[in-house]
């Protein structure tokens, strides 16, 4: 059960320089058994905790420097909570977040502020995350000032122009206000703001889901170009699997607070192992009638479980066409490595892959 999944052998102590791995191949981000639980409050003063929402419940993963990690999953499975916790905008209930060798749960004050500059977030809804009364120039300068990077008029101005051209906006955009831009342009302002402080890690939470497809493509291309140019590391959160397929090197599939499968992008899309991933991939519409007419779909039925009351055993059992009573409803499957860098949390992943387990065919139609 506890096959450690490629974690460094020293379990708890975080290397702080000497004897540590070379920074070059040390992952930029490493999460170990991360949990984020929100209390459910009742009572007139909301002072009684009557239960917990297990938003993120035991996630371990690592993100290599300069790569893009894509996180996908259904609404409410904990993707945004995980992203915010990596940036310490949400406090973990347990587990650790190690950023470039520093355990984030142990830093505070000035060192935390310094670490924060190295990680920035791009939000889904730029209109509400950008102050409407601030011009683009003052939005960008504000970020620089907050991190002591405002280096006098001339240099700052040059820096701002560079930033805008990097995200494909004209210099005249500096004097405009957020509402004067189209959705795609506004999203680029949000990206420019995140980049202003020269971060290493950018967490992009649904960066294109509010945009029309034609504009979505512009923003995805900008993200890619910036990565090529500055060696940025991305954690991209999206519910659109095609978007993630397009940008990510490595993909994690979340379900009800946990990672159910993780692999390199091509591997995951070509050889999905977890029943949930298989159902997801078979359900994504493909803009090609020939493909749509001929593909097999795994249609799920059954109730969606609540993160406040997750089922005992496998979180996916309420909808899984392959569930085995007596096992799946008793024991929670831990992530296991099947094939290089391909982790899956399912008791029957091998048998399902080899077609040796009946049941799934009952859920397959067309």
């Amino acid at each position: 059960m506890t096959e450690t999944t490629g974690e460094p052998n020293s379990g708890s102590a975080v290397p702080d320089g000497a004897g540590a791995q070379e920074p070059a191949d040390r992952p930029l981000v490493e999460l170990r058994d991360l949990r984020v639980h929100f209390p459910i409050k009742r009572g007139v003063l909301l002072d009684r905790t009557v239960g917990w929402v297990y938003a993120v419940d035991g996630v371990s993963l690592r993100i290599d420097r300069g790569s893009t990690y894509g996180l996908v999953g259904e609404s409410g499975c904990g993707k945004s909570t995980l992203g915010k916790t990596v940036l310490r905008l949400e406090k973990p209930s347990s587990g650790s977040i190690v950023l470039d060798g520093t355990d984030m749960s142990r830093v505070s004050g000035e060192p935390l502020r310094r670490m924060r500059r190295r990680m920035q977030m791009v939000f889904q809804d730029t209109l509400s995350s950008l102050d409407p009364r601030q011009s683009v120039e003052s939005l960008l300068v504000e970020g620089l000032r907050a991190h002591g990077m405002d280096e006098g008029r001339g240099r700052t101005e040059r820096r701002l122009r560079e930033l805008l051209s990097a995200v494909g906006l004209p210099a005249s955009a500096l004097r405009r206000y957020p509402h004067e831009f189209s959705g795609g342009q506004r999203q680029r302002v949000g990206i420019a703001r995140a980049l202003a402080v020269e971060p290493e890690l950018v967490v992009a939470d649904e960066p294109v889901s509010a945009l029309d497809v034609s504009v979505q493509a512009q923003v995805l291309n900008v993200l890619r170009d910036l990565q090529d140019e500055y060696g940025l590391t991305y954690l991209v959160i999206a519910h659109d699997l095609a978007v993630v397929r397009h940008v990510a090197d490595r993909v994690g599939v979340m379900y009800l607070g946990g990672l159910v499968e993780e692999a390199d992008s091509d591997e995951l899309y070509e050889r999905p192992l977890h029943p949930y991933t298989r159902a997801l991939l078979s359900a994504v519409p493909v803009p090609d009638p020939e493909v749509e007419d001929s593909r097999e779909r795994i249609l799920l039925s059954g109730d969606l479980p609540s993160p406040a009351d997750p089922p005992a055993g496998c979180p996916f059992q309420t909808r899984c066409p392959w569930r085995q009573p007596g096992v799946c409803d008793v024991e929670r499957p831990e992530p296991r490595e099947l094939g290089e860098g391909h982790r899956v949390a399912c008791h029957y992943a091998e048998s399902i892959r080899d077609g040796a387990l009946p049941g799934g065919s009952a859920g397959t139609v067309e």
Binding site: L220, A242, P285, P289
Partner: protein, 333 residues
Amino acid sequence: MALLQVRDLSVRFVRKQEPTVSAVDGVSFDVQAGRTVGLVGESGCGKSVTSLAIMGLLPGRGTEVSGSVRLDGDELLRLPRRELDRRRGRDMSMVFQDPLTSLNPVVPIGVQISEVMERHRGMSRRVARGEAAKLLERVGIPDPGRRLKEYSHQLSGGMRQRALIAMALACEPRVLVADEPTTALDVTIQAQILNLLRELVAETGTALIMITHDLGVVAGTCDEVNVLYAGRIVESAERHELFAGPRHPYTAGLMASVPRLDTPRGNRLAPISGSVEDNIPWEDGCAFSPRCSRALPRCSERTPEIEPIEAGRWLRCHNPIEEHARNTERPHD
């Protein structure tokens, strides 16, 4: 004759102190019984307004509707309000973009569904309740007996959307308009609902108008597709024809900018340049011309008209993509 005939439908919103918005501008299409017709295009291109106009659900004040919408030959746009309400319940229904606002929060789901059947199909209350349970089961809601007694806020987003579809099906409509029926849903639930709609069309011969911005959904559900740009249809074709070889530059641009699940990572997307804010008015030329890579000088001088180019295929463009380019211009194969 087609079950539903839309001809030269235009909708203008006239507001004091504000410029008039021409949201839908001369839209024509047919829907046959048992067929699904798609309306696709980007946000604001007029998809919802077109469907609201067909259903007679636009606000009266400040709205100018012209053209013709015929159901079985009867002109709906000039029907008296009460007669229209009756037909809307019995012959046509709609699934709205936003499920929460179109369900009544203080009436149990089951009562809402059975009321429709009592009113439009003349069932007794008892029979209607039984039918409502069957409908919920049909749309894939587990434990329908319990759910019938619940209120909309007790259902998840996917269940609400399915409840709405159950309500739309309750009167066995001959025409069903589904406005982005799955946008708010996860793909696994989306797949269930699209499957349900496909079954409905095949089994009952309902004519379905499917409104979506998702080309994948179009490819899997629609028989014919109308592509809208800035309130006008720019290309219209049978779905296989359209996807195999889009002739309008905007259609082709849309297809090239969608990231696909079945293409390997690394393909660079080819976005359409600019945004709808760059459009010019249709009166001056082609609204798409400032963004179009095939634009000719005449595109910003003369308005292109929509013309038939072959059976079942229409196009509005001065410089369409050549037909022989079809297979060579397919992005990946």
